[in-house]
Symmetry: C2
């Protein structure tokens, strides 16, 4: 069997399962999710054994310590996976919501109803806990999922999926086993093969570094929801509360710099730069933040006795540092800030700090990003923080879900039309 043939078989089974999922009640789905959680909790030793074999392979593959740490399934991590499954069970069913209703003059009643997307492929890197998270969110939203983790995690991923499907099958009559499948091969050709099956696969969500996401997008013939990177900005307006601005900037950069919603570039209005830049630079120096500064900022900060500055390079403005490192630029007001963000940003999360409502409204209306903030840190772009209950990823796309994606964002809709024999004139 070629890779294309085996991927077609996998996807065909997923398609069939996706139809069977449509017939499961919310209660049945929740019983299945809780049974999955029980099975994960009951199998800590087996999961650690499979994971230990993955860790050996990971060392042979020369993974870094950080990567090996991400790969490892400690007991607390396993129990957290189970807890996550129970949390998903407790969330409302996203399928069957009435999104709109119309009554037409000819008597037709038209309902717009949320529905599962169908077959979703998730491609991710090393953390095996993503297997349980992603599978549970897809299952709850009525989608069949095909999971493709890193090759170093394949034993852990396969076992997690098997425990989940076995438990669900025993707990719920009619649970389709192919609702949750792991691509069983590490063959690189599996991804383009799977993503060529436009008649069977409805959506692909890659999660990982920009390289992975670009490679997936380049080969996919099915729709992809993704964000390439998070180059987020904070603009401090001339009418900002400077203590608030300092707190927001430090939080946006330093609270967790490895995340996609951390700030990469700070834009400061020229008229307040002489006072604000030394203040914020001092606050950032507590975290040893490396600053790539434009000429105007360097002038001001050197005059204030700060010397540890690198001149910013043009490509820096499009770089996601994922670290205690950032760009700093002085701009002439909100319009220049808007232009900078449009030219260099990644349409993820951008903030303005100002007391002036008119300036804030201009920024909120002109910045075309998934999340736009007025007087708050960019770090809130997150399914949990937005009250979605769970998150499967963040999208900077404009077709389909945008921003944090929870259960609702894993659905599409159908139009149901109720007639009494109407025909078109």
């Amino acid at each position: 069997m070629t890779v294309l043939e085996s991927m077609t078989e996998l996807a065909r089974a997923a398609k069939k399962a996706s139809r069977e999922l449509a017939a499961l009640s919310s209660d049945a789905k929740n019983v299945a999710l809780n049974a999955m959680a029980d099975a994960i909790e009951a199998n800590v030793p087996a999961l650690q054994e499979a994971n230990a074999a993955d860790l050996v392979t990971g060392k042979e593959l020369g993974l870094s310590e950080a990567m090996l740490d991400r790969l490892q399934l400690t007991e607390p991590r396993i129990l957290a996976m189970a807890r996550g499954l129970r949390e998903v069970a407790a969330l409302p069913d996203p399928v069957g919501r009435k999104l709109d209703e119309k009554r037409r003059p000819n008597g037709l009643r038209i309902e717009k109803i949320s529905s599962p997307i169908g077959v979703v492929v998730i491609i991710y890197e090393s953390r095996p806990n993503v297997t349980a998270d992603a599978a549970s969110l897809c299952f709850k939203s009525g989608n069949a999922v095909i999971l493709r983790g890193g090759k170093e995690a394949i034993r852990s991923n396969v076992l997690i999926a098997r425990l989940m499907t076995d438990a669900a099958r025993n707990a719920v009559a009619g649970f389709p086993e192919s609702a949750i499948q792991v691509v069983p091969t590490a063959d690189r050709e599996a991804i383009p093969a799977l993503l060529s099956l436009t008649h069977l696969v409805d959506l692909c969500m890659p999660r990982g570094g920009e390289g992975l996401i670009r490679a997936v997008t380049a080969c996919s013939k099915v729709p992809v929801i993704k964000h390439y990177k998070g180059v987020c900005h904070v603009f401090v307006d001339r009418e900002a509360d400077l203590a608030m601005a300092e707190a927001i900037v430090v939080n946006a950069k330093c609270q967790r710099p490895s995340t996609c919603n951390a700030m990469e570039t700070l834009l400061v209005d020229r008229s307040i730069a002489p006072g604000f830049l030394p203040q914020v630079a001092k606050a950032l120096s507590t975290y040893k933040v490396k600053i790539h500064a434009d000429e105007a900022s360097i002038g001001i900060l050197q005059a204030a006795g700060q010397t540890n500055l690198k001149p910013v390079q043009p490509t820096d403005y499009e770089t996601e540092y994922n670290d205690y490192e950032m760009n700093l630029r002085v701009v002439d007001g909100v319009e220049e800030a808007i232009t900078h963000i449009g030219d260099h940003g990644s349409a993820h999360s951008d903030a303005i700090v100002t007391r002036n409502e008119k300036t804030a409204r201009r920024f909120l209306s002109a910045i075309d990003s998934a999340a736009v903030y007025w007087n708050a840190s960019t770090r809130f772009t997150d399914g949990g923080e937005f009250g979605m209950g769970a998150e499967i990823g963040i999208s900077t796309d404009k077709v389909g879900a945008r921003g944090p994606m929870g259960l609702d964002e894993l659905t599409t809709y159908r139009w149901l039309v109720y007639g009494q024999g109407q025909v078109r004139q």
Copy 2:
């Protein structure tokens, strides 16, 4: 300049225009649309002159009479274009609608607001009126549009777009001229070049035959919203009102067979087939409908004296005839109908005719199509019939808009977050 360079220039201008469009008020957009309508009405002779040159080229290219007819801009057609522009002006602005609002325990207020998608590429075949329709809907929804019509219509399309942009620029300060652009070259390489610009183009909507749509989808690196074809079904259940079923079947097939929401396959429950098939075949014979029938249907219809039947071939079930031609199959109840539609349908529009609510509910929940009907003709899947006011196309995709696409479906959303200095813990 290479094709890629010139397409990049076009797309960059569109991106810039899309930002300027965000600043236009609803009133300004409507003034512009009405000015565009005036300009079209005032330039009937010039439009007919440009169109006459296109018609000469079309004849040289050997277009069929039907194609030449579609290409022709008669005076009524030109006036209808202008009327369409005024109708779009009269519709509510789809941008800025509050789709959701959340208040978080930390005091953040989060609004989900409808927003323009950005830069939309529309690829279509010969009818030049699509230029005005598509441009007006994209403009009203705040999107910059790049139009690529058939090469035989290029003079008509360029003039329509120029009249619209000139009129809008004169009527409205701040109207960005590059909001509406026509690809100025007939070079085939223009399409893949344009659709490789993931950082500038947000969406592509191809409109036309399956060949065009498949070619666009295969080369595009940007999201595509489309429907390949419309293979729509009517299932007549054993508990159907047979007079209603006959009327719906005849309407779904014959009212306008060239449309994508016309019925291609009729499925009839075995228990009513002996009575219903001769009845419906007689009604269809009024329109000289050619029937590809399965063995069971042929048996019944021949016994009833009907002879003009072709045995159905397996690929027929996936064929969009676009003509007075259809498939007929006898099935064992609603479950077999659901399986048939899932296996062979195009997820466009499918109907059940039945008096039994439980059977109808099963069909409505199991058929994963953009529009699912109970006791009505499939021909209602249409923006106007759904009360959307205007339609730019129909989508059978599940990511982004699904079913008829009006102004609302040409928007995405942004999350606007209002704080008082909140930072993440």
